[in-house]
């Protein structure tokens, strides 16, 4: 894992890249949310990250922790649905864990995101294997120990691996057996966040 220090500008670039990839993939996320959900995940994420991108552009926080905390707050105030509070909590908790250091290491980011992922599981009452965003977040964070690219790959793999799972949480769980065979939209958007991270780290 690279030992480069990551500053606030890096986190701003991450959020901007995330907004761009979410915007490109919004239709696909909504499509995935159609057969096993309510066809809004793309629109939800898009609305949230448009707000985040605007925030980091117009009033960029001064620290890595500040960027993530403000981004999380922005998601909570603009997304709604299940993904708003969950992604909002992920970034807010990670941001808080980073404190007000002006620069952080990749390992510090990994452990901060780990705290965020734990908070998601606590808030959602969910665990890996339930066919949710956790199935991409958990392997993604774990692989951050190796590299940003490995994290993106692991998260993507985790998202793909949700296909055969029977959903136990979220809307997809209402479908019972019929949730099998579909990729979870939230896991897919989580993988996109990791791919944006890998992209800006290059």
């Amino acid at each position: 894992m690279s030992e480069t220090a990551l500053d606030a500008a890096f986190f701003v670039r991450w959020m901007t890249a995330a907004a761009a990839v979410i915007d490109r993939e919004a239709e696909r996320l909504t499509e995935l949310d159609s057969p096993i959900g309510d066809a809004d995940h793309g629109a939800n994420m898009q609305r949230g990250f448009v707000a985040v991108a605007k925030m980091v552009e117009t009033e960029p926080p001064a620290t890595p922790g500040g960027v993530l905390t403000a981004a999380g707050r922005q998601l909570i105030s603009s997304v709604g649905g299940a993904s708003g509070p969950l992604y909002g909590t992920l970034l807010r908790r990670a941001g808080k864990a980073l404190g007000d250091a002006p620069q952080v290491s990749a390992q510090e980011l990994r452990s901060a995101l780990g705290a965020g992922v734990d908070a998601v599981g606590q808030l959602g009452g969910s665990a890996p294997g339930d066919k949710t965003m956790l199935d991409a977040l958990v392997p993604g964070v774990a692989a951050l120990a190796t590299s940003f690219d490995a994290a993106a790959e692991a998260a993507e793999g985790g998202a793909l691996a949700t296909v055969p799972i029977l959903a136990r949480k979220g809307r997809a769980s209402y479908l019972g057996e019929r949730s099998i065979g579909h990729q979870d939209p939230g896991a897919t958007s989580s993988a996109l966040l990791f791919s944006a991270l890998a992209e800006v780290a290059k």
Partner: protein, 330 residues
């Protein structure tokens, strides 16, 4: 796209402007997405706040007014509103007697209302929350998201609203709301999918001649797909599914609810079959409401909700109500 809209992005804001134009008795804040009865906060009264994704109209905005909700928070289509809306609504309607949040059991609604309750309490508002989870198509277990909130929401909002209007304290209003939840069960059927503005095409593919049993109100497919059934067969299936989870010893309120695109003519015909089944099963009917009340955009289909009522709940159900979507009494 067969929709009467401008662009998908402004659907909710446009609807709120149209509501404001049609209902001078409401304060509709289209920017902050809060609908409040004009005379709020009402002194000495517990305030009721609900909300959820849009696309279920008249629920919830159409149920704001004397005898029902004090405020509603509409989210994006099929998307829970954000905590900011609920906090703003609570502040606008609290008269110092506390606020009851009425929350349909979906992960998004639960989490956002939960965050809002914490924030509102930080601001000194006393908040209680009641979770509506009436849909028997979903298995209720700790390993799932639990039963969904659907038609019973109307019963909870009406009865708790009447209790609040009578001046009952927060704990009592909350207890009555919980009693309604515990006494209510629903089952829904789709004859077509619906089309969300964001997606622009049906949320799932349902060939004519087939139907989905056990659907919710967000365009999700149901538990099971079958060959088309008659109104009679659907009533047998739906009412028995409800009664399997509810054994009413008392008379019931019946809601025969349309999903949005099923004509009232058919809903009334369906009600005849629902009544037949209830008669056959020995369940007494106290009151019946037939219409499109808890909808799923332009989905064709219906749901049945039963709520077992004692004398007090029935009195509160019959009490005057004056909202855009439900009105009676004098």
């Amino acid at each position: 796209m067969r929709m009467l809209i401008n662009v998908a992005e402004t659907v909710v804001a446009d609807a709120l402007r149209g509501m404001a134009a049609a209902h001078p008795e409401l304060v509709v804040d289209a920017e902050n997405r809060v609908i409040v009865r004009r005379d709020a906060p009402v002194a000495q009264k517990v305030a009721l706040v609900s909300g959820g994704g849009s696309g279920h109209e008249p629920l919830h905005g159409g149920f704001v007014g004397p005898g029902m909700l004090d405020a509603a928070c509409p989210g994006e289509v099929f998307t829970s509103p954000v905590p900011d809306q609920m906090v703003r609504a609570a502040a606008a309607v609290d008269s110092g007697n506390g606020v009851l949040f009425i929350v349909k059991n979906y992960t998004g609604d639960v989490l956002n209302f939960q965050m809002a309750a914490e924030l509102a309490e930080d601001e000194g508002v006393q908040v209680a929350s009641v979770l509506v989870n009436d849909d028997v198509a979903v298995i209720d277990s700790t390993f799932t998201a639990g039963r969904r909130g659907t038609g019973a929401t109307l019963f909870v909002e009406k009865i708790a609203g009447a209790a609040a209007e009578e001046g009952m304290p927060l704990e009592r209003v909350e207890a009555l709301a919980r009693q309604v939840v515990a006494s209510s069960r629903s089952f829904g059927v789709a004859l077509s999918a619906c089309t969300t503005p964001a997606k622009g095409s049906p949320t799932f593919d349902l060939p004519a001649g087939e139907l989905e049993l056990g659907v919710g109100i967000h365009g999700e497919p149901g538990r099971e797909r079958r060959a088309m059934m008659t109104s009679r067969e659907i009533a047998d299936f739906a009412v028995d599914a409800v009664l399997e989870d509810l054994d009413p010893r008392l008379p019931v309120l019946v809601l025969v609810n349309g999903m949005g695109a099923t004509p009232l003519l058919e809903l009334y015909g369906f009600n005849a079959e629902v009544r037949r089944v209830l008669d056959e099963r020995g369940v007494a009917v106290a009151r019946t409401l037939v219409g499109n009340y808890v909808t799923s955009l332009d989905m064709a289909g219906c749901s049945v909700t039963l709520c077992q009522v004692d004398g007090e709940l029935l009195r509160l159900w019959d009490a005057p109500v004056e909202t855009a979507g439900l009105r009676w009494g004098r």
